[in-house]
Each structure stands twice: as structure tokens, then as C-alpha cells.
Symmetry: C2
Subunit: 234 residues, 2 copies
């Protein structure tokens, strides 16, 4: 089956977590808006298409199914592409870890948009500085420390004891935070040897390495979730 | 099976979405921390218990399974208690709607804590006022308008065309927002006839009505997600 991924053009954003899974699986997919423009997304958001109506991208069209919410898409793709272990307990755990990554992603986004997503960063700078400081010193260590312990408990190399979509998402988190907060992450990586090593190994997986070197990987920029504003990385 | 629900005492919080499903299903469950204190939660968060390690409550112990993340707990309970339709498409849609409710809940929480969850509301009041205004005028209408259209598309009475855990969660959202933002919600309910009627019908379901009248239903207060600060409801 050829999947159709719908996500805003120009940013990695939440779509990137899905792209990494599709690329790692060698799945057949079209990144629809990058071929047809963002307008292709709108009929789904307006409820003009059959099937589930998404609140926001990313969503994946798989035959007649429309699947939205990043973590749900990954939970659906996982068993179909050997990106999650077979047992119910492991699948539930994988999804829980992915939902926790989603929570971290919201908080990473809100460091530059603590007041309103519809306002420019420049219009919420003082609040952003405060929120980013709390994120760097409290929330980021709490989330990353948790995932480091998850890795440790599972033998050190994989969140679920073997390769899974959760590892791919943890790579994206480490990459994104490293882009947004290079100083904070430089200090923090010393306390996160397992996450650091996992991110390096994921980047070397043949299909992921090929993807990262291709034009399909959009560079990080100041329109996405992970943005580098030096004043937020004191 | 007797479920064990773990959630902080003293607030409805995210645990309430799970409680409503358990109560509506007439499921056998213990609200562990309300019997044993919040300390009962800690060994799970510290990774001292077997099974999946939760990042935060609520989590549900069902036999040997430990299931965390509100939407995942509901997705797991749904088919076991006839709280979701049978088809794969409907279950995926239900989970997506619940995850969208989770997104709304984060934003409702951040109206009073836009800078840091670890600081008091009083220490982030100016930012809270700005964020609450954006929430009331932009985000709340967008989310609730979406769910009103979801109801409309499904025939008007239920999010999924029949009773489900999503309806229970929409009741909780309407109740919580009505408590936190009574003025804004009074105006908004006129544009949300289907959501308003759904919330009333859910409250009249015999088991839900009995639950709401019982001491098991913790009153809304200024420690939970939905807090009433009049200055945030201009």
C-alpha cells in the first residue's frame, strides 16, 4: 500500500516523527503537501473528505483509513512494519513512551510560544525567556532523565529492548533539542550516555542515514517546533 | 478483574477522565491513592515496580499490566467495557478524538501556568492573563467548534454515533471549562448546542448521575487543571 502523509511543508514539525518511521521501514509513501502544496491538507481539516476528520496534521491516509495524531499514527504503523515488539504489554508501553515524547514536544514548542501560537515569537520574548529557563533546568532534565532510565532498564541499547519507532522518535528529540538548545544539551549529554549513543546509532541506520542526507530531510529552522534562539539557551 | 487506578488525591485532574469511564461502565476499581495516600504512586514513578514505568499519573494497573497516559488507558478500557464501537476505523477515530481532548486539556492548564508548572499561579499572573485571553478567544472556540462539528457529522447525539468514552470526556471538558470560564462559556454555549446537550445527557446517565452525587466526585478546585480565577475569564 502507498501511504499518503499530510503535513505542512517547510518544517520538520510533528510530521518528522512519522517520516522517520516510514523511511526506516522503507515504506512506500507520498509526502502529499510537498508535491501539491499545503492546500491539499485543507479539505480534510474542513471535514470535506470521508473518514475521520483530523483536528490538525500530521495525518496519514492508508487506503480508506484517515489516521491523525502523531503517536496514534506510529502506534498503527508499528506492528505493520516490525517497528514494535509483538506483545500487548510492549505495544502499550511503546505507545505510552511515544505519548510522553508528544508531551515533551509540546513543552519544547511552548518555550518560544508560551503565550499564543498565533503571535510571533518576538511578541512574547520575555515570557519565552522565563519558560525556556524552566524548560532547560526542570522539564528537559526530568523528561530526558526518564528516557535515560527507560533505556537503562531495557538493557541500554533500545527503549523496548529491540529497535522500535520509539528509538526513532528519541533520535528526533535528541536532534531537535540539540539544535534548539546546543549549550544546555552539551552539558546534559554527559548525564545521558545511553540516549546520546542511541541517537548516534539511529543516525547510522542505513535507511535513516540515506534519508538524513537526502533533500527529503528538511533542515531545522525557526518555523518549526525546535527553534534556535540563542537567548533561550543561556 | 479489579482495576487499580493511581492518581493524585485532592483533584479531578486527568484521573477524572478515567474515573468517568470506570464509573459509567460499572467497573470494579480501587482509587488507590485515595485509600493509601499519594505515597502509593511513587514506587511506580521511581521504576521500582515491574512492568511499564509511567512518567506521571494517571496509570491503571490491570492484572500485571501497567497502563499510563489518560488517552491510552481509555483506548484500552473502551473495547473491554463497550465504551467504543467495534470497527478499527471507529476505534482509531475515538482515540484520535481523545488525544485531541488531551491537547485541549494541556492548553486549559497552561492558561494559569504559562511559564512553569513548578511556580505558583500568583508568580505568573500577567502571562496567565495574556494566555487565557488567547485561549478564550482563539483556542477554545477552535477546539470546541471542532467537536461540535464532529457531533454534527455523527448525527448530533454522540461523537461516534453511539455512546463512547469520548462522550464522557467531552462532558468533563464542558464541565471543566464551565467551571473555569463561566462567562466565556455562557456566551459560547449558544454556538455549541450539540456539545451542550451531550453534556446534559451524560450527566443524567444513571451511573454518572450517581457518581456525580457521591463523595467520589471531588469538587473542582484551584489545584487542578480547570481553575476558576475570575481575572482569567474577562
Amino acid at each position: 500500500m502507498r501511504y499518503q502523509l499530510y503535513y505542512w511543508t517547510g518544517i520538520q514539525g510533528r510530521g518528522e516523527f512519522v517520516r522517520l518511521a516510514l523511511e526506516d521501514a522503507g515504506a512506500d509513501y507520498v509526502d502529499v503537501a510537498r508535491e501539491q502544496g499545503d492546500d491539499a491538507i485543507m479539505p480534510f481539516l474542513r471535514g470535506e473528505k470521508p473518514g475521520a476528520r483530523p483536528f490538525a496534521p500530521p495525518f496519514l491516509k492508508a487506503g480508506r483509513l484517515v489516521i491523525a495524531q502523531t503517536a496514534e499514527i506510529l502506534s498503527w504503523l508499528g506492528p505493520r512494519h516490525a517497528l514494535v515488539p509483538n506483545s500487548e504489554a510492549a505495544r502499550l508501553y511503546a505507545h505510552q513512551l511515544e505519548l510522553t515524547i508528544s508531551d515533551l514536544v509540546v513543552e519544547a514548542h511552548d518555550t518560544h510560544h508560551p503565550i499564543a501560537g498565533g503571535l510571533y515569537y518576538e511578541d512574547q520574548r520575555p515570557a519565552a525567556k522565563q519558560r525556556a529557563e524552566d524548560f532547560r533546568t526542570q522539564r528537559m532534565p526530568k523528561f530526558l532523565g526518564y528516557f535515560e532510565q527507560v533505556l537503562d532498564k531495557a538493557g541500554g541499547r533500545h527503549a523496548l529492548g529491540r529497535h522500535s519507532y520509539v528509538d526513532l522518535s528519541l533520535f528526533q528529540v535528541m536532534s531537535g533539542l540539540g539544535y534548539a538548545f546546543p549549550k544546555a544539551m552539551k552539558r546534559m549529554r554527559k548525564k545521558l550516555p545511553l540516549l546520546t549513543s542511541l541517537a548516534e546509532r539511529v543516525a547510522e541506520r542505513p535507511r535513516i542515514a540515506a534519508y538524513l542526507a537526502s533533500p527529503r530531510r528538511i533542515p531545522f529552522n525557526e518555523m518549526g517546533i525546535f527553534r534556535h534562539y540563542p537567548e533561550l539557551d543561556a
